[in-house]
Amino acid sequence: MLRMIAKRMVLIIPNLIGVVIVTFLLTRALPGDPAAYFAGPAADKQAIEQIRVKLGLDKPLIVQFGRYVNDLVHGDLGNSLSTGQPVVTEIKNRLPASAELTLFGLILSMVIAVPLGILAAVKQGSWIDHTCRVVATAGVSLPVFFTGLLLVYVFYFELGWSPAPLGRLDAFATAPAQITGFYLIDSVLTGKLETFRASLSQLLLPGFTLGIFSLAPIARMTRASMLAVLASEFVRTARASGLDNRTVIITYAFRNAMLPVITTLGMVFSFLLGANVLVEKVFAWPGIGSYAVEALITSDFAPVQGFVLTMAVLYVVLNLIIDILYGVIDPRVRLDG
């Protein structure tokens, strides 16, 4: 198991190098001129050139890249133009918000999609199966920003069931002391149930928006792999041994069926991180997704680079977790190393 993790770590190095290079080139290709931005509204060309030299933007690309990598090694991701803060600090502050939202969405979606998928597979061809398919597909067919707006309109504006879409907490509540950065967890740890409720109520709408979006891939995968497993020989053996339905479906079929589902989760997570960008924009969520969009639109290099690197690391970590989970469930992976 440890060797598997070590191997995985070695494998991600070229990935990270690739990400750094691609990000660097992509951000340099963005239109917009940071020198002009820094020089201020009334600057003339000469002043802009001066700033350009000061920022080192007149150097050849390769030199700029060297400097960038050097800074990176020293843990410096640069400063954001539009918020003026060091990117590292901003990401540190905003990452928990995004992570909490994305995980919440993912968990919501799994809680709904996995039983739905199982049900659809067990009752294959029935109306439940068709309904599940249609509902899940409809969910993934809605653009997230549209879903988000609709939910805000209905549940906040029309019905008033949901609090104002103002980020993680309403304006007058105080955030719990930072322990994990996840408000739900922190508020429980510090025993502030009021805060827990407040942050949960803020999470529900954006969480559902993401959850609805990721319903389809998870339900679809669960159904497909459940079907495959239910048709397998060992399930037939289990049935022929007279094991009851519950044991057959949960202990025998479901655990095996989870393996491909877990693999899919990695992709769904990446999918959700992308969708997050739009959801955060709709719900004024102070996460890194909205941060990155703003930066991208304003050609703000440093946050974009920082964001993408964070995402890449996150993705790698997530895949590691998935591998470990896989190992926990599947002894073949664990013991083969």
């Binding site: 190095i13 053996t237 022929a240 041994s241 094991l243 599947d330 073949r332 013991l335």
Partner: protein, 588 residues
């Protein structure tokens, strides 16, 4: 799971023994398919006495498995019992509620399936899988259950059961897995065991061990057994009575001692004849009065055969010397890690699949390469075929060192024409998107140098040669039967008039009656075209009928080689003797 009290059985175990344990009357099973209802089994009558072993024999599609599923009531969603009754120990299984059936399954009647590895949950410890069954049927308290599971493992002669209790299926050999499956089936001491092709896919030596175990255990406990198999020999060797099924009907029921001596039904006779056994020729396998030899073959035979023989009587066609193939023990991913390691960390263990073997094949000779799975026979054939590269040694073909040519560039050499192959699985070896004609034409187009407009004519000639009806040429593989697909594969192999054909278990996926026809066809083609064969197989009986010489391999090495007669009758190596002894011997 809560502790359950020992449930009283619904069945009376102490009924008079005169009544059959299982009584199947007029059983008809239907499947709803897209083309309407298909009757898989029609009006079947079976009885099974307590302690009796019944064999159900038939080829694929005969309905033998469906019968057993119907008895267990584990038919697929689409299948249903349309008519008849199944009475087990006085209980009508057709009308019994599902909960009763669940209690019966595993407790009173058990089933073991073919491919034991697939029959076990891959991610659950085998001990726990046995416990699941024990707990389900409340055989034992939950605190004593693991001891009981270990006991059950011990009963199926698994060495070190305490360790194996914690093993996962993938850590066990195929034979060991089958023992676990048997343990699972017998854990609750049922009265009836249904074994559905329990040894298919296992090596003969393992097959014997498993069958002996089943018989021993069931006898010991006075259980009744139904053995479902395609192998008449196996059934006759282990069963008291044999039922022969064909296309959903029972054609004959007889004591197994009688059935080989006095087969009543024509189908039984055909099946019996087609079963390879020592001391018969290929022709004997065919039903009386039939010949596999297509007329076209006979015609061309005289014209072509001598021409090939003239060329080199002196030098053998193929010379293999000290051939070695090594594989790294670890998987492919390790190689990437190596790139980033400063030095090659540890020299990975090399595993020798083929370990310095030498043999020759003369022109026009057919040589059998026999061994159990994993002995290196397939690797050898792939190297000779130049589909993979050797690690060491020499492969001389017609005086040329073809082993030195990388497999990658061999494909387009003219030499390629001269070595061809017939594959094990006719379905797998035909491109699902190519028609038969296109498949046969492929080598002609690539290497044949035949003008395009003549290709069709050549295909038709080849089809005639292998006895493939011309109207099948435009069909896709899924529209043909196994035997037809095998013929297409053979036609493709001979299309370029090769000097050497490697036959890689060409009949392993076929029913015995089809096997008989295909083997005869191969023999006829060899006679008429004068090719050499390297026949790779696990089945000594089959090999002995087709081959002049036999090579026996074990763990990458040749343990014995010699003329067929000598190897079969007076084997030198003890391994060969084991192999021969393991072949089921029907009471003839």
């Amino acid at each position: 799971m809560a502790k359950k009290a020992q449930k009283p059985s619904k069945l009376d175990r102490n009924r008079p023994t005169s009544m059959p344990l299982l009584d199947v009357r007029d059983l008809t099973v239907e499947f709803a398919t897209r083309r309407g209802t298909v009757t898989a089994v029609k009006n079947i009558n079976l009885t099974l006495a307590k302690g009796e072993t019944l064999g159900i024999v038939g080829e694929s599609g005969s309905g033998k498995s469906v019968t057993s599923y119907a008895v267990m009531r584990i038919l697929d969603r689409a299948g249903s019992i349309a008519e008849g009754s199944v009475v087990f120990s006085g209980l009508d299984l057709r009308t019994a509620p599902e909960s009763d059936m669940r209690d019966l399954r595993g407790r009173e009647m058990s089933m073991i399936f073919q491919s034991p590895r697939l029959a076990l949950n891959p991610i659950r410890k085998v001990g726990h899988q046995i416990e699941d069954v024990l707990l389900q049927h409340a055989q034992v308290d939950s605190d004593a259950v693991s001891e009981r599971a270990i006991e059950v493992l011990e009963q199926v002669r698994i060495a070190r059961p305490r360790e194996r209790y914690h093993a996962y299926p993938f850590e066990l050999s195929g034979g060991m897995c089958q023992r676990v499956v048997i343990a699972l089936a017998l854990a609750c001491r049922p009265q009836l065991l249904i074994a559905d092709e329990p040894t298919t896919g296992l090596d003969v030596t393992t097959q014997k061990a498993v069958m002996d175990l089943v018989v021993e255990l069931t006898r010991e406990r006075g259980m009744s057994t139904i053995l479902i198999t395609h192998d008449l020999g196996l059934a006759a060797a282990y069963c008291d009575r044999v039922v022969v099924m064909e296309k959903g009907h029972i054609v004959e029921t007889a004591q197994s001692s009688a059935i080989f001596k006095k087969p009543e039904h024509a189908y039984t006779r055909k099946l019996m004849r087609a079963t390879p056994r020592p001391g018969v020729t290929l022709r004997d396998l065919l039903p009386e009065g039939e010949s596999a030899r297509p007329k076209a073959v006979a015609k061309t035979a005289e014209a072509k055969a001598p021409a090939k023989k003239v060329k080199g009587v002196e030098t053998p066609l193929l010379v293999i010397e000290k051939l070695v193939k090594e594989y790294p023990r670890q998987g492919g991913a390790a190689s990437l890690a190596k790139i980033f390691a400063p030095k090659p960390a540890v020299q990975p263990d090399m595993f020798r699949a083929v370990d310095g073997i030498s043999f020759t094949i003369a022109r026009g000779e057919s040589v059998g390469l026999v061994g159990e799975s994993g002995c290196g026979k397939s690797t050898t054939s792939m190297m000779v075929m130049r589909l993979i590269d050797k690690s060491d040694g020499l492969i001389m073909f017609d005086g040329e060192d073809i082993g030195a040519i990388p497999a990658r560039s061999f494909a387009r050499l003219p030499l390629r024409k001269r070595i061809q192959m017939v594959f094990q699985d006719p379905t797998d070896s035909l491109n699902p998107r190519f028609t038969a004609a296109r498949a046969i034409a492929d080598p002609l187009l690539q290497l044949g140098g035949i003008p395009r407009d003549e290709v069709r004519g050549r295909c038709e000639a080849l089809a005639t040669q292998v006895g493939l009806p011309l109207n099948l040429l435009d069909r896709f593989p899924h529209q043909m039967s196994g035997g037809q697909k095998a013929r297409v594969g053979i036609a493709r192999a001979i299309a370029l008039n090769p000097d050497l054909i490697i036959l890689d278990e060409p009949t392993a996926a076929l029913d015995v009656s089809v096997q008989a026809v295909v083997l005869n066809l191969l023999q006829d083609l060899k006679d008429s075209l004068g090719m050499s064969y390297l026949f790779v197989s696990h089945d000594l009986n089959v090999v002995s009928m087709l081959c002049d010489r036999v090579i026996v391999m074990q763990t990458g090495k040749i343990v014995e080689q010699g003329p067929t007669e000598q190897v079969m009758v007076a084997p030198q190596a003890s391994y060969t003797r084991d192999l021969l002894a393991a072949i089921p011997h029907p009471p003839l």
